[in-house]
Symmetry: C2
Subunit: 236 residues, 2 copies
DNA sequence: GCGCACAATATTGTATACAATCTGCTGCTT
DNA sequence: AAGCAGCAGATTGTATACAATATTGTGCGC
């Protein structure tokens, strides 16, 4: 029986060294919107907090910058990324291109075990919402998409989707409009239903409209109250 | 009048520090098949060759590992990646998914300046072949695809394609069968012709068959004379 | 002679020290 | 008072030293 998807799903404990742990911790915080776009991530600061040397902090930050979660500016430091409106649109265009087809493939290759995993995943999302952890719920709902892409069994494309989901989390942090409630629960449930019926076409359509729903719930106008970084939005 | 595309097109001189330079140099060598998959990249070795400290070597290697050009094994070292047959198929499936549509977009947004760039690019490929630099020609022909994706003006997808092209270079290094000549010249020329006519549908079709041509010219069977790494192909 | 254990060597991982660069302030000049 | 020069502080970039780990070589026992 699968565990509820907790942080263990994100963090693979110390096998790749301390820097991977720190990277996971920061990634988690960003995905849960505890670290907001624009926040500066000082090296000394982090090295003190986590009790490691700047060397490993540096490694982790570089890694995060490659996955586009943080922006590394030479001689200036590391900042949580702030995708522009343009990038936001591009990310969701790319997702609309990749994910529906991937959902279709996933439906074809769906196994009972995978179905159970997805259902447990949705349950965990629900629990997180109930227990007043919206950040965790948001992270899980993003991870739901990653889980699907993995079931589709195309590691390369799954990797791209993982990047896109990560970037989407930042986009949501910046451009989400408060009034529209984040009710992915229904959409995810409908997807699982389609998967259960191995209905690829339906899953594809559902995923497509689901992504569109998210996109239209965004308020894609420049600079929503940037905290932290400053000056970068005024420069050119 | 655009310069012939030389290494300057790959290397943006020291603005991001020595590690970016080293990364570019290694990336270039890998793309030109002077460094073959499986080759070990020792840190001391590189630091001596390029006259920099291991710190910057390390940074460069990490960067390359994130773009999947090198494989970083904890406590073992860095090796030029060796994509498996399965990965090879996935990469070309992903390319078949992304690039034809991207070529279509590129045709729509094609400008005269961009056309000139592409033509110069093909000329450079030709020159490289003529002057007995097949590695350089191969690298350029890969970069041709990246150039197109940039013209399509979708940075996110262009980034994905760049990764795929890089990985394709490794795949070709491993699985290319000698007998089939690499005659991309004709395909690239046909693509430019379609672009010149702003014929998106034609460009899309051409790109699709072009990718298929490359894929079918590969000999996708496990382990073609792996040099270097060993043991990893015998382990499980 | 073969196989295993242990030591020697080499290579990577981490921490720390020093250098380079940027930021922000002070105080002078106009 | 506004603006610029230059200095002080802080932060990042780089190099080096040390620790941990894996690989290789040697010798002992069988």
């Amino acid at each position: 029986m699968p565990l509820t998807h907790d942080r263990l799903d994100f963090i693979q404990p110390t096998l790749n060294g301390p820097s991977a742990d720190l990277e996971s911790a920061l990634s988690l915080a960003i995905h849960e919107h505890r670290l907001l776009p624009g926040t500066k991530l000082g090296e000394d600061e982090l090295s003190e907090i986590y009790g490691v040397s700047r060397t490993v902090v540096r490694t982790a930050l570089q890694s995060l910058s490659h996955s586009q979660l943080v922006d590394l500016k030479r001689n200036r430091g590391a900042f949580v990324s702030q995708p522009s409106v343009r990038e936001a649109r591009e990310v969701f265009e790319a997702r609309a291109l990749l994910e529906p087809r991937t959902a279709n493939s996933a439906a074809e290759r769906m196994t009972d075990a995978a179905l159970v995993r997805l259902e447990a995943h949705i349950a965990a999302e629900h629990d997180a919402l109930e227990s007043g952890e919206p950040g965790k719920a948001l992270r899980l709902s993003g991870h739901f998409h990653i889980e699907i892409s993995r079931i589709a069994d195309q590691a390369t494309i799954a990797g791209f989707i993982e990047r896109l989901v990560a970037r989407s989390s930042l986009i949501i942090a910046i451009y989400w409009r408060r009034q529209s409630a984040l009710c992915e629960k229904h959409a995810h449930h409908a997807l699982v239903d389609a998967f259960r019926r191995r209905d690829g076409a339906e899953a594809e359509a559902l995923m497509k409209s689901h992504l569109l729903d998210i996109l239209t719930a965004l308020d894609l106008r420049e600079v929503k109250a940037t905290n932290g970084s400053l000056r970068d939005i005024l420069k050119p």
